[in-house]
């Protein structure tokens, strides 16, 4: 296999080498060394958010790892840990951002050994009901309510095709059984 296409720069905050893997698709890149969130669109990698995390997390799949999922090649370019607080308890899960320049982005999430391979949809979900329960109709399938929570970004590493920040909060509605999840930013 040929070497991954990367471009090398350095972090303006700590001087560590920054590797950009998602070609020119990244909006932000989080420094693997000091955790600062940098502007990937800026040639000088302007600091968007200084390091302020108390906890540091290590991804089970390191950034830059390539693998084949469902017959297609993907490279891990970003990693974030999200947290939801339910009844006073905090639950953390991992999200990997996968990239293939011919296919775009996919997501791989992991919570307590349970993995989901996720893609975004190109159509809008339709709010409906299944019996007494709120549901979503999507391309021939009805998804019934499963979970609804606020998810906070606790840690980021690598590249993202959106303006990621530690402390970001999104509303997540998850529908079983095949699994449909809506992620909405506030405001």
């Amino acid at each position: 296999m040929t070497a991954p296409a990367v471009s090398s720069l350095s972090c303006p905050q700590c001087g560590a080498a920054i590797t950009l893997r998602a070609l020119d698709q990244a909006e932000t890149v989080a420094c693997a060394s000091c955790g600062s969130v940098l502007d990937a669109r800026d040639p000088n990698l302007r600091v968007l958010q200084g390091y302020e995390e108390a906890q540091k997390f290590t991804p089970q799949i390191p950034l830059g790892t390539r693998g084949v999922l469902k017959g297609e090649k993907w490279e891990v370019v970003g990693f974030q840990v999200r947290c939801a607080t339910i009844d006073g308890s905090s639950y953390y899960w991992d999200e990997y951002l996968l990239f293939n320049p011919y296919k775009g982005f996919r997501y791989l999430s992991e919570f307590q050994g349970h993995w989901n391979f996720i893609r975004t949809l190109s159509a809008l979900p339709v709010e409906t009901r299944s019996g007494m329960k709120p549901a979503i109709f999507m391309l021939g399938r009805t998804y019934v309510g499963f979970d609804s929570m606020a998810a906070k970004t606790s840690f980021v590493l690598g590249e993202f095709p959106w303006q990621v920040r530690v402390g970001d909060v999104v509303k997540v509605d998850t529908r079983s059984a095949v699994y449909l999840s809506r992620v909405a930013t506030a405001g």
């Binding site: 991954p4 296409a5 320049p101 190109s122 159509a123 809008l124």
Partner: protein, 89 residues
């Protein structure tokens, strides 16, 4: 945002408003790209009742707004040949 319109017999919902300008052009184009400032582009999506999903764009960059209607395709579905390879992939 979120308003729905029937275009070409299909119901579309506004999903994003983008203000854009020409950053560069290459080759021959069948329209005037000069003398344009920042123009409004409205992207619309179909909902989950329409399979496969379709997409529409309202282009306000000329005197008369123009609607473009299309569908999502993968790069493989286009079946392009002799394209430039991306280094490392």
């Amino acid at each position: 945002m979120s308003q729905s319109y029937a275009i070409d017999g299909t119901l579309f919902t506004v999903s994003s408003l983008t203000y854009a300008r020409y950053a560069g052009v290459e080759g021959e184009l069948p329209f005037e790209y000069w003398d344009h400032g920042v123009e409004l582009f409205v992207d619309l999506d179909t909902d989950g009742t329409i399979d496969p999903a379709r997409i529409a764009t309202l282009d306000y960059s000329d005197e008369v707004p123009v609607a473009y209607v299309g569908s999502y395709v993968t790069l493989d579905e286009l079946g392009l040949r002799n394209t430039r390879m991306i280094e490392g992939w």
